[in-house]
Symmetry: C2
Subunit: 426 residues, 2 copies
């Protein structure tokens, strides 16, 4: 992309998540712009269903699509797989890990967030998070291996320890993961073992706050807690994790001996926000103005989990949700077109689509403005919304079939323990 | 499984491939036997379709099933995931890597084979084989990454090098992999890149012998060669690999600069055969008598790729094919039942089901005794046989749909680059 006069506007999008893809699509049909999307992975990931991969209900490919394939029809959009390490705001370029330079007229930064271990990065090794395909298959490997290990033991204490699963964090991801682990052990695996009883696995959900799903109404938190308990999940609230090690988890004065600990607690914004050298909030998100531009910049938009955008209605920052990223991505793209057309920018207004979380088969909670719903109807709504949003026809059909199948048979299609090593050990 | 009098016969099967599973199923309905199947993986793998995983056509879970789930309904069959490191023929037990001891009255050894690098184990790192899920996803990662890397380059020489794929070994696996790589580059990826032309990827199939598919009739070898060439594969016969490095492959006096080299050449039997300390053949396979018993043993059967069984009709050893393993597994199980029933053992007779190999979409070669078939009809036969044999209803339907889908759209559903590392690098 060498610069030349009267060439089309160069718009660079970093990040192929919900926000970045929405922006690319919104820019796709303008002949006067040339879009380059850079992501360090080759695939867009439908993160809301990642817990299903972690619990062997879906295959990675069911919820991931090559970014290239998603944007294949948009001839003015290029895709490059690379990791951005430097952003130069004065000369308007980014530099990648393989030392390539890409110039831009406008930049949209949409690199999202990853897990935060509250200043204890050493916990990560013992407690994988759930943000990437690699992490989801690592969790799946640990979960399935735990049952295999237990089947080989004879000491009841050791079996009990092997079958203890701790999920840290009572947000939607933690709730969904814990509920799904309970179903896996209570239903799917129940008939496949001869020595152990998989239904006796302990699943403990740990939340530092007073209640799980704290962003939902209190009645829904209560309902979700009861639903989880019905599934056999032990819900510990007001419980702060003090230490995670290979042995287990220290929670206040308590200690849970558990080989399997999974992390769904805090998030930390992508480190790319810092490269802009514009004002950040306390957690490291880039502060953006009402037009979604990073403060003190003209041509740099930041969207999604990485942005700190103050909602005018509530006076607080918007949460890190897929609908926020989607709407901001589209809006940022249109802002850039407004700048090209020399019309006035329009402040971003978030259209609240509500929130939902599923607690297991046929159970969910849903909140849209003042409407609250729980139980089977909420689950149906959850199902429809998630299938609808899955990008690409193939994925929608495959996921639907997979679900129908596991629904009819209580089986799970992706119970693979895949090693991290591919070479023959002989 | 502690030993006691009048307890059911303990039959230990090591290996959950085609042979081991067939044996377990044949023993499943006898109340007087107790079966234990040990495998170091949790899944049975439908290896004939592994090349489809390597080229992003299928997901790993489409061709793999938890051994436990396959045998779930057979109440007298237990499954343990462990690696056997020791076989004691005098005291009749095996010991696993986690130091567990399992006693047996009869043993069926069915641990198959892995790739042989002809005394150059250091080549493996540069040239993954195609025997496990891990290897298939490693090949997929390298193939898809090669196109991503090429898209970032400007120097035509470098692009040409990045898009050079060498497949070593002209047996069915090598032919299928090369054909599938050609289709991936010629069709699937052709519209997804903006800078490079994926259809210009070079795919070179290297065979040391005078012709590919040498176990087939010469006319079918010729046909397969022509079909591969029509797809754009360069077929090099009488070409012996002298060296494999990170830079490429040395073939006689030639050198091919290629970052992507895949290994489908020789196989070497599982090292467990040696533990028996009975006569082996030159390649390390366990010599078995007409009853499938390892020489000099009474109660130890060896089947499938690990066994050297001399076919009475031809006077030569049976090849390492799935039908051989299946038939031998069933036969070994029945031999054991004959011993329990004190009836005479029956020599194993291989019922030749023929061989087939696919060369790409709608092309295959097939040979059953004196019948030879190639082209579309052979491909249809190949399709029906492979779908039919895929274990488990779910897999059959899922695989069929996936195929139908990629057939209609020329897309591939599993184009994921998955890293071997799951931890956040930040």
């Amino acid at each position: 992309m060498e610069s030349q006069k009267n060439s089309p506007q160069k718009i660079l999008i970093v990040g192929g998540g919900f926000g970045g893809l929405a922006a690319a699509k919104a820019l796709a049909h303008r002949k006067d712009v040339q879009v380059l999307l850079i992501d360090r992975r080759n695939h867009h990931l439908f993160q809301p269903l990642l817990y299903q991969v972690a619990t062997a209900g879906l295959s990675p490919a069911d919820i991931a699509m090559p970014i290239r394939a998603v944007l294949s029809n948009y001839k003015n959009v290029e895709v490059i797989m690379a990791e951005v390490l430097e952003i130069n705001r004065e000369k308007n370029f980014v530099r990648t890990a393989d030392n390539l330079q890409f110039f831009f007229d406008h930049l949209i930064l949409a690199t999202g967030s990853s897990h935060s271990y509250f200043g204890h990065p050493e916990w990560q090794m013992h407690a994988p998070g759930l943000k990437t395909i690699e992490q989801a298959t690592e969790i799946r490997r640990r979960v399935l291996s735990a049952f295999e290990e237990a089947e080989k033991k004879t000491n009841p204490e050791e079996i009990r320890r092997a079958l203890t699963f701790v999920v840290v964090g009572g947000g939607p991801t933690g709730v969904e993961l814990a509920g799904s682990l309970a179903e896996l052990s209570r239903v799917t695996l129940s008939r496949d073992f001869r020595r152990i009883d998989p239904t006796r696995a302990r699943i403990i959900l740990i939340e530092a706050g007073a209640r799980i799903l704290s962003m939902f109404d209190e009645s829904l938190s209560r309902r979700a807690t009861r639903d989880l308990e019905n599934l056999g999940v032990q819900v510990w609230t007001s419980s702060r994790v003090a230490e995670v090690s290979a042995e287990g988890v220290k929670v206040g004065q308590d200690f849970i001996a558990a080989p399997s600990v999974f992390w769904a607690a805090g998030v930390t914004p992508s480190p790319l926000g810092r490269l802009l050298q514009t004002p950040l909030d306390a957690s490291g998100r880039v502060r953006v103005d009402e037009n979604l531009r990073a403060l003190q910049t003209e041509n740099i938009f930041v969207i999604g989990d990485l942005a700190h955008f103050v909602d005018q209605k509530t006076g607080t920052a918007l949460p890190g949700l897929a609908p926020v990223a989607l709407q901001q991505g589209r809006h940022a793209a249109r802002q850039i077109l407004r700048r090209l057309d020399r019309t006035e920018l329009k402040p971003f207004v978030y259209l609240d689509k509500g929130m939902m979380a599923t607690v297991g088969r046929k159970k969910a909670v849903l909140q849209v403005k003042s409407w609250r719903q729980s139980g089977f109807l909420a689950w149906l709504a959850w199902l429809v919304v998630h299938i609808f949003f899955l990008i690409g026809f193939k994925n929608r059909v495959a996921v639907l079939l997979q679900w129908a199948w596991s629904y009819l048979t209580y089986k799970r299609g992706a119970r693979l323990i895949v090693s991290r090593e591919w070479m023959n050990s002989q």
